[in-house]
C-alpha cells in the first residue's frame, strides 16, 4: 500500500473541486470566455476522476485483474492499435453503420407510408411503443442462427433495435405541425407531398433527430451484445468476451474506451447535424441543446 499516492490524488481532487467551485461562481461577461469555462469545468472533473482512479488503484495496490489504472489501459490502447482498428472496422463500420442506416431508413419510410392511414397509425403506434420497451437484444441469438456469424447477423439485430424508436418518433413528429400551419398550406393549394416536404417533415425534424440520437447508442449496444452469441474471430464484442476469459482486463478496458469514444463521436456528429438542420428550434436558438 502506498498512502502517499492516495493522499496526492485526494489533494488533487480537493484542489480541482475548489477550482471548479471558483469557476462556476464567477460572473463572466465575455461570451467566449464563458463558453470556455463551460467546457473547462467538466473537463477538469473528468481529469480528476482519472487521477483518483489512478491514485486509488496504485495506492491500494488493487490487483490489475480487478481494475487496471488508466495509464496501463492507455499504454495497452496505444500498443494494440491494429487489433482495435480491425475490431472497430468489423463492428462499427460494418454492422453498426449499415444496420443503423437500414433500420432508421426503414422506420422512417414505414412511418411515411402509414401516415396517410389513421387506422394503421392507431394500430401500429401502441404496438411500436410496446415493442420499444421490450428487451430486443434478446433476438440476437436468433439472428446469429439465421444470418451466420459474420456482421450480417449483427446488422440485422441493429435494424430491429433501431426500427421501432424511429417509427414511433417519426409518426408523432408528423403530427407536430399545428392545424393553423396546415390550413395555411391548404390555402396555398399545396398537395399532400408539398405539405409533407415543406411543412410537416421540417416540423418533425426534432423528433426524428431524437430517434437518431437514441438509436446511435442502441445500435452500438446491439452490435456488441450480438457478438457475444457468436462471431468470426474479430469484433469488439468478441474481443471483450474472450479477453475477459483470459483475464486481460486492460485490453477489455481499451476496447471499452474505443467503444465509448466511437459512441460519443457518433452521437456528437448527429447532434451537430441536428443543430444545422433544426436551426429554427427554440432549444437550438437559445444556445442550449
Amino acid at each position: 500500500m502506498n498512502i502517499a499516492i492516495v493522499i496526492g490524488a485526494l489533494i488533487f481532487w480537493i484542489a480541482a473541486w475548489s477550482v471548479n467551485e471558483w469557476l462556476v461562481r464567477r460572473e463572466i461577461k465575455n461570451v467566449t470566455l464563458n463558453n470556455l469555462t463551460g467546457i473547462a469545468v467538466p473537463v477538469i472533473f473528468g481529469i480528476t476522476l482519472l487521477i483518483i482512479w489512478e491514485g486509488i488503484t496504485r495506492g491500494f495496490n488493487v490487483p490489475t485483474v480487478l481494475l487496471p489504472p488508466p495509464s496501463m489501459i492507455g499504454t495497452r490502447l496505444v500498443a494494440s492499435v491494429p487489433t482495435l482498428w480491425a475490431d472497430f472496422q468489423q463492428t462499427f463500420l460494418k454492422a453498426v453503420l449499415i444496420g443503423y442506416a437500414l433500420g432508421c431508413g426503414s422506420g422512417f419510410l414505414v412511418a411515411i407510408l402509414i401516415d396517410r392511414s389513421p387506422f394503421l397509425q392507431r394500430g401500429l403506434l401502441p404496438l411500436g411503443n410496446f415493442v420499444s420497451a421490450l428487451p430486443i437484444v434478446g433476438v440476437a441469438p436468433i439472428m446469429v442462427m439465421w444470418f451466420g456469424f459474420d456482421w450480417h447477423s449483427k446488422a440485422a439485430v441493429v435494424i430491429i433495435m433501431t426500427f421501432f424508436p424511429m417509427l414511433v418518433n417519426t409518426v408523432s413528429g408528423l403530427t407536430a405541425s399545428k392545424a393553423m400551419e396546415r390550413d395555411l398550406m391548404r390555402t396555398y393549394a399545396a398537395n399532400y407531398w408539398q405539405t409533407l416536404f415543406k411543412l410537416r417533415l421540417p416540423a418533425a425534424a426534432p423528433f426524428i433527430f431524437n430517434a437518431l440520437k437514441i438509436n446511435s447508442t442502441l445500435a452500438l449496444i446491439g452490435a456488441i451484445v450480438a457478438e457475444f452469441f457468436g462471431t468470426p474471430t474479430v469484433g469488439m464484442g468478441f474481443r471483450i468476451s474472450t479477453e475477459v476469459g483470459r483475464m486481460n482486463v486492460d485490453m477489455v478496458w481499451a476496447e471499452i474506451a474505443v467503444a465509448a469514444v466511437a459512441g460519443s463521436v457518433f452521437y456528437g456528429l448527429i447532434a451537430l447535424i441536428e443543430r444545422g438542420v433544426t436551426f429554427w428550434h427554440p432549444s437550438v436558438r437559445g444556445g442550449r441543446t
Binding site: L124, V137, P141
Partner: protein, 294 residues
Amino acid sequence: MFARLNEGKTFPVLLILTLLMVIWYGAAIKLNTPWQLDIYQRGDITEWTTTQFISDTLNQDRPVLPSAHQVFTEMWNTIVGKSITSKRSLVFHAWITLSATLLGFAIGTGLGILIAVGIIHNRAMDRSLMPWIVASQTIPILAVAPMIIVVLNAIGLSGLLPKALISTYLSFFPIVVGMVKGFRSPEQIQLDLMHTYSAGPMQTFFKLRWPSSVPYLFTSMKVAIAIALVGAIVGELPTGAVAGLGARLLSGSYYGQTVQIWSALFTAAALAAVLVMLVGLAEKLVIKRMGMAT
C-alpha cells in the same frame, strides 16, 4: 358497427396482430421448407399432400423459425407444467432475472434521486457532472456488463449482486436526467412564493420540488425498469449459462433449441410489459392520491 370499431384503438391493434400472426406462419412455412424437404428425401418419402407438408413444417423439432403455437406450447409447458423449483421451469429462470432487475432498479432509483438532489443544490456539481452523465448515455455501457460479472466473480462476489449492479448502472441515468428536470420544474413564481413564506431549502425541497417532480419520477422509472431488465438479461450471458432468462437464450443458441430461445424471448417481453404496466399503475394511483390527476 364497423365505423365504431374503426374509431377505437383495440380493433386496429388486433387487426395488425392478426396480420403479424399470418406473416409469422407464412414465414415459418417458407423458412422451414428446405429442411423439411431434406427430411422427406432422407426418409424416402416421395409423395405428400400439401396439408401434411405444411403441418410438418410447422411442427419440426428444431425449426429455423418455430411457429407460434410451438412457442406458446413450450411456454405453457415450462411455465405451468413444471414445478417452480425445477431448473426447467421458466418461472424459476424468470424469477432469477426478475430479482436482479428489481434489486438493481431499486438501487438505481435511489442513487439517481440522490445524485439529482446533489445536482440541483450544487452549481459546481451541476456544471461538472451533468455533461458526463449525458455523455455516458452515449457509451455502450452494456459492453462493460460481462466484465463486471467476471471480475466480481473473481473476487468472490457472485449471484444476484453483480447482475443487479449492471441493472443499477443502466437504470440510474434516466432517473438522474428525469429527476433533475423534475426538481427544476417548479416555476420561479412558485419558488418566490416559498421564499415569501420564508421557507428554508429543506422545506422548499420537500413541500415544492419533491411533489412537483413526482410525474417526472414515474416517467423515468418506466424507462429505467425496462432497461434494468435488459441489463439483468445481458448480465446473465457471461456467467456460463447457469440460470436466468439470459442463460436460457445463450444455452438455446448453443444447442440450436430455437423453440427455447423464442419462449425465453417472449417471457422476457411479457415480463417487461408487466413491469412497465405496474409502474404505470403505481403512477396512476399516486398521482390520483396527490390530486394531480387531470
